[in-house]
């Protein structure tokens, strides 16, 4: 009977590879990835040029920089690394449905090659295929097909093995014995093990995996703790099954319209049945719809995409259709629709039974949420926003618009006197130059200025663009209060808003 196989793919120093992909011109010099953008930030990865300058992971950036004055450094955010791992996972599932990314070592993956050899001809070609695919995406990688999860990982990490001599980075180990023999030579320093344990073992002269495995595990545990014992177990003959990330296809469906139809009502009618059918498998996954991707294939025109998001994850087809209807109503498509592709993105959701017992409140937040969703559907996602105050001196910088995702009850501040309300113009309106003797129609309004109150000076922004404004409240004879300013650098008057 053929022995079970496992492959390990290692993309060494993945964050550094990502950084160099982003800055290809840096490749020829010393580069490091640091954990924070500070002189005391710790070097997490260093490229070969940096290592030549004796820069090693663990140093502070300041120390590293003293060794190489032109050292380039940057932080690679964890989300970028996670996104890349995701991308690599997608690439690797082309070669096997069973792919397990390492939890704490970005760039290490285990893959189950079983059942795929007939497709590729041989394990070697399969491994080479993976390597070629990864190199094609701009990554350096090493693929080792072995028999033991940890040993194949060890060989992939350190690059020693039969393939090393020939300069290939996709190796297939012929038998467990060879794997065992080669992996015994792997330096512990090259494995992603706890650095403290690694250093303590090195002091004892235990520097390779083989030497480590020769230590009695119970004595090892007593002296070096559970981490060492776990490592010992992992590297010994114990079997650790692969834990591939489950694959989950999005729920998709398609509606063909023959002949192409521009009528939204008929389109909605067609979508109704399709949506009902698609919500069913989503519900079976204990999921509710979070996002609906609507792809409209137009007759002799580019495809059109719309994304519709309900107020909260839902399986309510009627409500979703209503949102689709609103969105379609707001669209003016250049051609008739030939086909509609729906993709439903779900999210795990709690049972909605509790909703049955929920007391209906006088002010129904859910209803408000639905209303906002309708508005978003009708006018686009940016249409529903609210102002958030920001600490700034310039009026237009003292607030920003942020999208509202859910409705909330208001929390008015107690005892606030009703103030006068200043209404902004989205852009200040230029005013004519102020004549020397202030003729009545200076502000371009019907009523002349009776009184000017000010100036209140705002100046700053010298580090980007100097702003200097003298603000006044201009009271007109008909009681109107205008909020105007004189822009010193531009030597112009502007109407910022009105007060009422």
């Amino acid at each position: 009977m053929a022995l079970a196989r496992i492959a390990c793919v290692d993309l060494p120093a993945l964050p550094l590879q990502l950084l160099l992909r982003h800055h290809p011109t840096w490749r020829s010099g010393p580069v490091v990835v640091v954990d924070t953008d500070r002189p005391q930030g710790i070097v997490a990865w260093a490229n070969v040029h940096a290592r030549r300058h004796r820069i090693l992971p663990g140093m502070t950036f300041a120390a590293a920089q003293s060794l190489a004055a032109h050292l380039q450094a940057a932080v690679v955010p964890p989300q970028d690394i996670a996104r890349c791992v995701e991308e690599l996972h997608h690439a690797l599932v082309q070669f096997s449905p069973h792919v397990e990314p390492a939890l704490h070592e970005p760039g290490v993956f285990w893959i189950d090659p079983s059942g795929l050899i007939p497709l590729y001809g041989s394990l070697e070609e399969w491994a080479q295929g993976i390597h070629t695919a990864l190199v094609g995406r701009g990554f350096q990688a090493c693929v080792v097909v072995g028999f033991h999860r940890f040993r194949s990982y060890a060989l992939a990490r350190c690059g020693v093995g039969p393939g090393h001599r020939t300069g290939t980075f996709a190796w297939v180990l012929p038998d467990p014995h060879t794997e065992s023999r080669w992996s015994a030579k792997v330096p512990l320093a090259q494995l992603g093990i706890d650095p403290q344990l690694r250093d303590q073992l090195a002091v004892l002269g235990v520097v390779s995996l083989g030497q480590f495995l020769r230590l009695p595990v119970s004595e090892l545990r007593a002296r070096f703790g559970e981490t060492a014992a776990r490592l010992h177990h992992a590297a010994s003959d114990d079997w650790a099954p692969l834990q591939p990330r489950p694959l989950e296809d999005p729920v998709t469906g398609e509606l063909q319209l023959e002949p192409p139809d521009a009528d939204h009502t008929r389109l909605l009618f067609g979508l109704k049945g399709l949506l009902h059918r698609l919500l069913h498998p989503l519900a079976e996954r204990s999921q509710a719809l979070r996002l609906l991707h609507l792809e409209l294939e137009l007759d002799h025109a580019p495809r059109h995409h719309e994304y519709i998001e309900p107020a909260r994850p839902t399986l309510d087809a009627t409500m979703i259709l209503e949102l689709v209807r609103l969105r379609l109503a707001a669209l003016s498509l250049p051609a008739a629709v030939a086909a509609v592709h729906l993709e439903l993105e779900g999210v795990l959701t709690d049972s909605e039974q509790l909703a049955l017992f929920r007391t209906r409140q006088r002010r129904d937040l859910e209803a408000a949420g639905r209303a906002l969703a309708r508005l978003r559907a009708a006018l686009g996602p940016e249409a529903v926003t609210r102002a958030r105050l920001k600490p700034a001196h310039l009026p237009e910088a003292s607030f920003e618009w942020e999208p509202i995702l859910e409705a909330r009850f208001p929390h008015p501040a107690p005892n606030v006197q009703a103030p006068l309300c200043r209404r902004f113009f989205s852009r200040p309106i230029p005013l004519p130059p102020r004549p020397r003797h202030e003729p009545e129609a200076w502000l371009g309004r019907a009523s002349p200025v009776a009184r000017l109150h000010g100036p209140h000076r705002i100046s700053g922004g010298w580090w980007v663009r100097t702003v200097e404004r003298d603000y006044y409240y201009a009271e007109t004879k008909n009681g109107e209060i205008l909020w105007i300013y004189y822009d010193r650098p531009r030597r112009r008057w502007f109407l910022q808003g009105v007060v009422d």
Binding site: V34, D37, R38, P39, G41, H53, R54, F61, A62, Q65, S66, L67, A68, A69, H70, L71, A73, Q200, V203, L204, G205, V206, R214, L215, P216, E219, A222, R223, F224, K390, P391, A392, H393, P455, H456, R457, I458, S459, G460, W462, W463, V464, Y471
Partner: protein, 1037 residues
Amino acid sequence: MSSYAALWTKSNFSFLEGASHPGELVEQAHAFGLRSLALTDRDGVYGIVRAHVRAKELGVPMIYGAEITVCPVAHGAWIDPSTCETTRVVLLAQSRQGYAQLCRLISLGRARAPKGSSVVALDELQTCAHDLVALCPDPDLLAPLHDAFRDRLYALIARHRSAPEEGVHAALRSGAKALDLPTVAAVEVLYHSPSRRPLQDVLTCIRHGKTLATAGTLIRGNAEHALPTVHAMTELFADDPASLRRTLEVAERCRFSLDELRYRYPAEHIPEGMREIDWLRCKTLEGAAQRYDGAIPNNVMAQLERELELIRELDYGGYFLTMWEIVQYCRREKILCQGRGSAANSAVCYCLGITAIDPIRMDLLFERFLSRERAEPPDIDLDIEHQRREQVIQWVYERYGRKHAAMVANVIRFRARSSIREVGKALGIPQTALDRLSKMISHYDLDVSTELLEHAGLDPREPRCLHLLQLCHEIADFPRHLSIHSGGFLLGDQEIETLVPIEPATMEARTVIQWDKYDVEDLGLFKVDLLGLGALSLVRRCLDLLREHEDLDLEMSTIPAEDPVTYAMISRGDTVGVFQIESRAQMAMLPRLQPRTFYDLVIEVAIVRPGPIQGDMVHPYLLRRSGKEPVEFPHPALRRALSKTLGIPIFQEQVMKLAVLVADYPPAEADHLRRDMAAWRSQGRIEQHRERLIDRMMHNGIAREFAERVFSQIQGFGEYGFPESHAASFALIAYVTAWLRCHHPAAFCCALLNALPMGFYSAATVIEDAKRHKVTVLPIDITRSAWECTLEPLPATRELTVRMGYAFVKGFGERQRERVERALVDGPFRNAEDFVRRTLLPPKDLQTLAEAGGFSADGIDRRDAIWALRGLHAKVGDRLALSTDIAPAAEQPRFPVLSPGEAVLWDYRTSMHSTRGHPLEALRGELRRRNVPSAEEVAQRRSGSVLDYVGLVICRQRPGTASGVTFFTLEDETGFVNVVVWRRVFEAHALLAKTAMLLGVHGKIQAQDGVVHLIAETLWEPELRFHLEGTHSRDFH
């Protein structure tokens, strides 16, 4: 309106808020013709002395006050202003009493808030209101302060053309009306000119840890915080001229001047019926009798009388008695101390035991220390053994009381490096780029140049970089925060906090005043300097060891003087660990100067300094000393002043005399020159003397070349020039340490190791040097070692050996010390199990100690010991007896045995030294095969021979006076080799030169007067099986 008084002005001593120096504000006020200026820094009076000095020069009337942070709601023993609501009020001193109240109030606030902040409670403000004028910008505070301040309370209408403040002003006016209070006009002045607005924004960002982009409303909304002209102020308060006029009324009320501060030195406890000066005379004569064996020579007596008379006349008796008391305390506690600096010019100081140099015998000039014309307090610096200085400091606090004694502050200022980092951060420039830039400039640079920006990879044309350049230039020398002077005390007869606020220092049990030594000096206050000196710790420890192990009872004063054997050792440059003459440069000078007498040593100490080197005085002196050049004087008038140094000015006072005698400086101006030399970090102060000095010297017939050299020397003296008396004090300690090293090398080595860190060399170098002097140094052994190094007689010969202590194990600190010493109370450790059980040290410490060889006395390999100790530790909680034997059991895994070379490297890794050998010993065979000589052999080579050498880098030094030359000291098992690396060679091998611990040098020997240098042509990395992670060198100081 003809003028007004600026009543709310904050200088850059409102740390990270004000954006102008106090002097700039005063100058601007003078230029604008303001009636007076109130300096009201935030919770402090840090800047008032500087403002006062400048205002006196310009004739600007000053008002002294502060902006006080008040917590109006609750208060307690501790308030953190970041967690409670605070407001502020401006207080101005009407009188001396008001000023004292202000200082008390600030002291209160500082004592109860975290470092750098201050908060006073409302009731404290109410009780300290006497003779203070309160300007209140907070309407809610008017009523609570009304009763306390009455007609001295004003509602402060501070206008900055900002919309939100209008509401506050309306409330202030209505509150003032209700309480029948006057209003007064002001602008919260943060800078003297609107051009400083960007800097003020940046300072605000630095203070709050924000960038300009994220600071929001933390930075001010406009540039209306500059000192207004009279016209601008009149226009600003056109609708309220009464408030503006009232500024003059306030100024009229605040008549207090800093000149009114009447300082009295604390009166000493003197016997009933005696005057201070009588008691001083009594103690001086007692001391003189001891110093001169009961027969005080006439000339000494005459000098003492002259000095005592001047001390009486100037009323400085108390100060001398204080110093005497401190010295007496040190004697009682067996703490070595010795006065340094100009105090050594005083026979009274010598007789009181404050200094150890006889000024009469040395022909030192008393006037350099104290003179009627100068009329400034004497400055006595007392060196105290560094490991016990804190004990003396705490005794001073106890002796005078915390209300009468506080330490002098040291103002930490922005230098180029700190400005780049902090200003750049505020501008949002990546910190890694700023770090790169800041590393390219030296520590004390004040400015950043465009070229540097380019070198650091930044584009100087980019707006952010332009701002960086401009702002770094402006912020240079700005106060950053307050620190503590290394040992300066202000003692006062009255409570110090009535003179200046006192605040807690970061260091526990220390308090610090808000003025630095320059302020104290400017006001003529007395400062007592208690400085730490490692060499005195070394001497004390060494004398103790001699008493204990060699039954030799010596004191510094009883060490045999003028010992030829000691001078022979010194003349060979064999001075590792000898105070002041152990550096590479000193070692290279000693064989040339060949000191044979104490005065030679005084010159040796003073000559290897930036002053004489920069003035190119070293070689002429050596030539004259060796008779190769005749002794001539640049001017006949200088014969007496320069005769002791063969016509070459070497000491600071000789240069001063030169200025007086041949550059026509009157004594007072010469003193000004001395002070400008001392303030070397303030650029430009010394430069203003250049033309005058050189021209006048030339006018008096002195050659231009000599005059220019003298000026260069003056510039060099700015950086640590030595007066003769100071050099003599240091030379005395140098002689004592040299004698101890020469005659008692084991005790000296042991004491030196225990006094580390001090001096130039690491423990490894000290040990290697001791070994070369036939001292046996034994490794750490848990059954024999103590925490510190000890002397251990060899059983057979009774020869004294040095046993290394636990303190040298890397990572062993106070926690480990406490456990080991507590366990050692019950006697020495019997074995490993005993050690593990009694110390209960964690496995990490046990492993380090085992790696250092502490458990290997019985020949057990260190790896086996580590395995066994970890096992022992895992079972230390068991009640059963553990195995006392850590020898490897039969079933134990076999670990590779350490080779002797590895053992040395392990020693270095875990304790930064090895008693077992030098790392290069193991490589000597291989080096011989490659024809690489040892240091001993290098010293024998002829000048001009070319060779390769390999050694351990123990020192890299690039003195500012050496035009880019870097000096390396390399070491092997036979000694040192001094390597000279020219800039070109250094740059060609920069990486190696900066990082290599083991360095290969190809170069040419330069030997002269017994001094051998290897002039590097190339540097190379020896390809040897060698890894030196434990070694370290002293670099680029």
